[in-house]
Amino acid sequence: MTPSPRPSPPSPGPLTALPAYDADAPALAVDDLRVEFPAARGRRTSTVVDGASFQVTAGQTLAVVGESGSGKSMTARTALGILPAGAAVRSGSVRVHGVDLLTLDERRLRTVRGRHVAMVFQDALVALNPVIPVGRQIAEVFQVHGRAGRRAAARHAVDLLDRVRIPDAARRAGHYPHQFSGGMRQRVVIAMALALTPQVLIADEPTTALDVTVQAQILALLQELQDEHRLALVLVSHDLAVVAQSADHVAVMYAGQVVESAPGYELYRRPAHPYTRALLDAVPRRGRRGHPLATLPGAPPDPARPADGCRFRPRCPLARAQCATPPPVHNVGAQHTSSCHRWQEVTGS
């Protein structure tokens, strides 16, 4: 990777000036987060994030995996205070180095966003403004934080595009999002998030549209930033292989809750929740051609009508009467927790 002229690392912004700031606290700590779509006309309240907690320290990668629709993106967005219309945070906190973002006023938050905490949205096409050339959209990050003049910002934008492997970056910077392929847009969004080398990066499925070669390069780039700038990365992903490769810690989400949380290798080796196991079993593996893939019967619960007790109960082969009560968080091992009454059976111990 060719080193390119980049803006100096962010000078400590107002975040560090806050009394709650604690450089030693986790870079990002989400605690008991609850997000709802309140009951609207003819519809019941649906709790899409229901008490999710996790944390990530500087220089580390936390992977969030889970069922489609389990609230990963919602959690990620809430962390930056960017909720879709109609959604409301009911409880919980999102702390960046001890500072609770959910209590910051809009002005403070603005200085935090993009600079201390950046985000890669899940869908790259709609995340890009269709009427502004991508180069300018990247350059804007520098401009809003007063980190570079127009010219310099434009130059940095081209550099960033180059770093995310957009061929012919100088010319492409002037193109509009619709002129890019799906994977290229995704890389543009990544470039935008990396622009100011934030302390925390929340990346919502950043590499789904990338072929494996580019994906490897992007992951390497992220790794490099982590090494250099102690970037804390929250990686939402479906690709368990990618997760295995790059995550220090993994949180598994199901129906708005974190059902298992473990260091990367530990999770794969000793899954302690039936859902995690089901996930691992469903991974298509090389050389298994011809076998149907293992699937999980049934459907995830409707967030508007949550089952009481364990959410996974209706689909769980191990479900017993006891599962009708909400499972506590069990310590399975070092930094390894599981919310399953019967985790021991799952781990086989």
Binding site: K72, Q122, L125, A209, D211, T213, V214, L279, V283, T295
Partner: protein, 287 residues
């Protein structure tokens, strides 16, 4: 019930080229700079076959998919679908032809009409091609399609923006399946899905292929998934198909350097799983 698989070509592409105008200033003159997204592609898809299409990001896979389904018009080249020249069809003929070849769009956000409910979206193809399902059965058929892709029929009255990325992608798949097309072109249909739902969709595709003889063009980045579903694989790079072959050929004896690189950079889960404390019980325990 299916014809002899892998014999008759249902889709045949000759020397397909697609260029996009690439002026970055809207007022720039026509005929200025162009991006060649698809650059002389030859391709054959046989009955009941799944052709995996892999390649570099930006190599023209989506462009090709859009050409194959007549969403875009090729700059030059021929596309023959079920013996008819798709690129020459117009008007009603083309519309009828579309019943046989469907596309699952890469972008699940923009390809769903924001003002329609999921029910209306999935039902729309049935209304367009009335011969497929009698009107009275539409409701049941939509419910069934939603269930097939792992969505709850309760979702039918919601609108696209109320769904997560993976859920939207499945809506798109349900819509494409509604017509039971002979050819399904899927542009990264499972990339936004978690592995368990992905497995469900992949199994669905496989089942449909054997039951209905649907032929697929399956674009994906996850080589494991491609290996799982595809009979043959085409590797694209910079608008061209650089290598085609059976799954075994490509995976075990890749010829083109890019294919080799691709396989080499594919992240592998095996090392992580290797040390599993619990011996892999297979999936039976879930049954």
């Amino acid at each position: 019930m299916t014809a002899e698989p892998h014999s008759t070509p249902v889709l045949d592409v000759r020397d397909l080229v697609k260029r996009h105008p690439a002026g970055n200033r809207p007022l720039a003159r026509r005929g200025g700079h162009q991006i060649t997204a698809v650059d002389g592609v030859d391709l054959t898809l046989r009955h009941g076959e799944t052709l995996g299409l892999v390649g570099e990001s930006g190599s023209g896979k989506s462009s090709l998919a859009r050409l194959l389904t007549a969403v875009d018009r090729p700059t030059s080249g021929e596309i023959t679908v079920l013996g008819r020249r798709l690129d020459l069809l117009r008007g009603r003929r083309l519309r009828e032809m579309r019943r046989n070849i469907q596309l699952v769009f890469q972008d699940p956000y923009t390809s769903l009409d924001p003002r329609m409910t999921v029910y209306d979206i999935v039902r729309e193809p049935l209304l367009i091609h009335r011969e497929v399902t009698p009107r009275a059965d539409h409701r049941a058929r939509v419910a069934e399609l939603l269930e097939l892709v792992g969505l709850s029929p309760d979702h039918a009255s919601r609108r696209p923006h109320e769904f997560s990325g993976g859920q939207r992608q499945r809506i798109g798949i349900a819509r494409a399946l509604a017509l039971q097309p002979g050819i399904l072109v899927c542009d990264e249909p499972v990339s936004a899905l978690d592995v368990s739902v992905q497995a469900q969709i992949v199994n669905l595709f496989t089942a449909l292929r054997s039951e209905l003889g649907i032929s697929y063009i399956f674009i994906a980045h996850d080589l494991a998934v491609v290996e799982h579903v595809a009979d043959r694989i085409a590797v694209m790079r910079r608008g061209r198909i650089v290598e085609t072959g059976t799954v075994a050929d490509i995976y075990d004896r890749p010829q083109h350097p890019y294919t080799q690189e691709l396989l080499a950079s594919s992240p592998d889960l095996e090392p992580a799983l290797r040390g599993r404390a619990v011996p892999d019980p297979g999936y039976e325990w879930l049954r």
